[in-house]
Assembly symmetry: C2
Homo-oligomer: 346 residues x 2
Amino acid sequence: SRSINLAVIPGDGIGQEVVAQGLKVLSAVLPQDVKLETKEYDFGARRYHATGETLTDADLEQLKRHDAILLGAIGDPSVPSGVLERGFLLKLRFAFDHHVNLRPSKLLPGVATPLAGQPEIDFVVVREGTEGPYTGNGGTIRKGTPHEVATEVSVNTAFGVERVVRDAFARAQARPRKKLALVHKNNVLTFAGHLWTNIFNKVAEEFPEVTTEYMHVDAATIYLVTQPERFDVIVTDNLFGDIITDLAAAISGGIGVAASGNINPSGEFPSMFEPVHGSAPDIAGQGKADPSATVLSVALLLRHLGYEAEAARIEEAVSADLAERVGKPARTTDEIGDTLAVRVAG
Amino acid sequence: SRSINLAVIPGDGIGQEVVAQGLKVLSAVLPQDVKLETKEYDFGARRYHATGETLTDADLEQLKRHDAILLGAIGDPSVPSGVLERGFLLKLRFAFDHHVNLRPSKLLPGVATPLAGQPEIDFVVVREGTEGPYTGNGGTIRKGTPHEVATEVSVNTAFGVERVVRDAFARAQARPRKKLALVHKNNVLTFAGHLWTNIFNKVAEEFPEVTTEYMHVDAATIYLVTQPERFDVIVTDNLFGDIITDLAAAISGGIGVAASGNINPSGEFPSMFEPVHGSAPDIAGQGKADPSATVLSVALLLRHLGYEAEAARIEEAVSADLAERVGKPARTTDEIGDTLAVRVAG
Ligand SMILES: CC(C)[C@H](C(=O)O)[C@@H](O)C(=O)O
Ligand SMILES: CC(C)[C@H](C(=O)O)[C@@H](O)C(=O)O
């Protein structure tokens, strides 16, 4: 019989509320024969304040035993900027080699977008997750003096770039339009840019059916708002991916519905699924948070574990629910979760 | 009697066409007592193919003698990516210490925007121009092998950050709303991020009337499309500035109207003014390019040289011209230039 052994990290702020709905929908969608085991972990601001720890080696050992991880959100104004981001979120992505950071953008029917004319948006960004300017390389000298110098080193390897580019080509190949755009800034960041561009062009030869294009990251932000229908799959560096996926979320319904997967394709380590939004401390505990992004992240999780039909059912449920919302009074986090659970069970 | 000694660099593609209009409008707007001298320089792809040179020390010596520089666009598909960008454009910005890269965004009446609901957009981005990931620091080992490693080093100094932050505060102070946002990614790029944030907070104490906020660059792309009216002045790093000003241009009328100034505030070196758009080789020579961005760059140039009334006349003329276009057949580059020249002379 089948089973899913899930690590659950609600985290800070609205994390608790949205993860509760994600689990509700997950339980509802799973066939009876699938045994769901969950273990909750208390990472985030509370743990940091209590112990000074963000993510220990022992924590990683425990997390490693799960099939996948569902994360709510990490971050709180009481913790200095960077401590939890670098000490927990990025540490986990790096430790578990989550090199494919998958972020789909689809403007669902009836969903509001800041763009005029309700364009067709249906693309997925494959963001590299373990290299680039995110490695924490760099440093500071003469800190706090008028002679301070701070550096940040973007590290890019053929190994790291090729595997994510290959993953993106395979995804493009599997989609009806078979289009892949490389987004970088190879006219300025020439060292990293040439590495990315050369590998992209080399791997392209193995995928003759995939139509490719190259686009500078600055130009990509223009096309995302003027011609978003142009995109099918985008592959890009860790930092550029961070930036353009927030923009992508904004144009395709907002971060309330933006899901993501931090994927280790080999399965050597568990993959982690999380909404793109943060912990939103300003609305935490008020039942105002939209759990759709977390629920859609659960769909990505199920697809990753091979439950394609269940993933699709969740996506259809969220889509139908969003379409039904139009013109109706706002529901609570819990009510949305309940509605979705009923829909997917149906 | 007054005089302006201008270096003119038409450059590649549509550069020639749009610069011609910029000069036409400049001549028309200047009072009779101002003597305008121009000298044209042939930089760009043609010169590179003919001589292998992009910008020599002798060129810099000559350019240095001018009061300001008007640039059309540099770049051509026949030249490998990065050669003209690093070898000319960035070399010039660095050599002449253009540390204030000024990019205003204003959605003028009647101008189309991809955003729904015609929001009020009127902000200016102060982009650092001589540091960050643009320094060309970094390198490649084992090039072309499966073990290639490419690095890009972002270099940030207290000196470089403080002067541009100070410039941005002064600009915010001089504007009616007196708001300044620092855009960075200090939760991930913690070395550079803390330098920027600390200096920003320190300088803020000297400008108690200026309301400040901090925003991550990814979040900034969201607000630019969902609440662009929120912004007044933004100060940011070279690369983040590159990315968000293309997005800013896209939402406020497109790169056809986006002007920029590469400013050396001390006046030690001439400042350079250029449209944000590139050389657009696909439409070059067809009279299709909109010269408005170049003409608005001429306004920034005049303001920089102390001709405030003339700068304002140009901006009013472009604004009126854009409003008149609505529903009319497209005019040629030349016709738009002629119309604007008549307007500013009026
Ligand atoms: C919180 C932060 C470290 C993170 C990132 O920059 O990757 C977030 O913005 C994201 O996109 O998941
Ligand atoms: C052409 C390129 C080097 C340049 C930059 O990245 O600064 C351009 O995009 C700009 O914004 O002026």
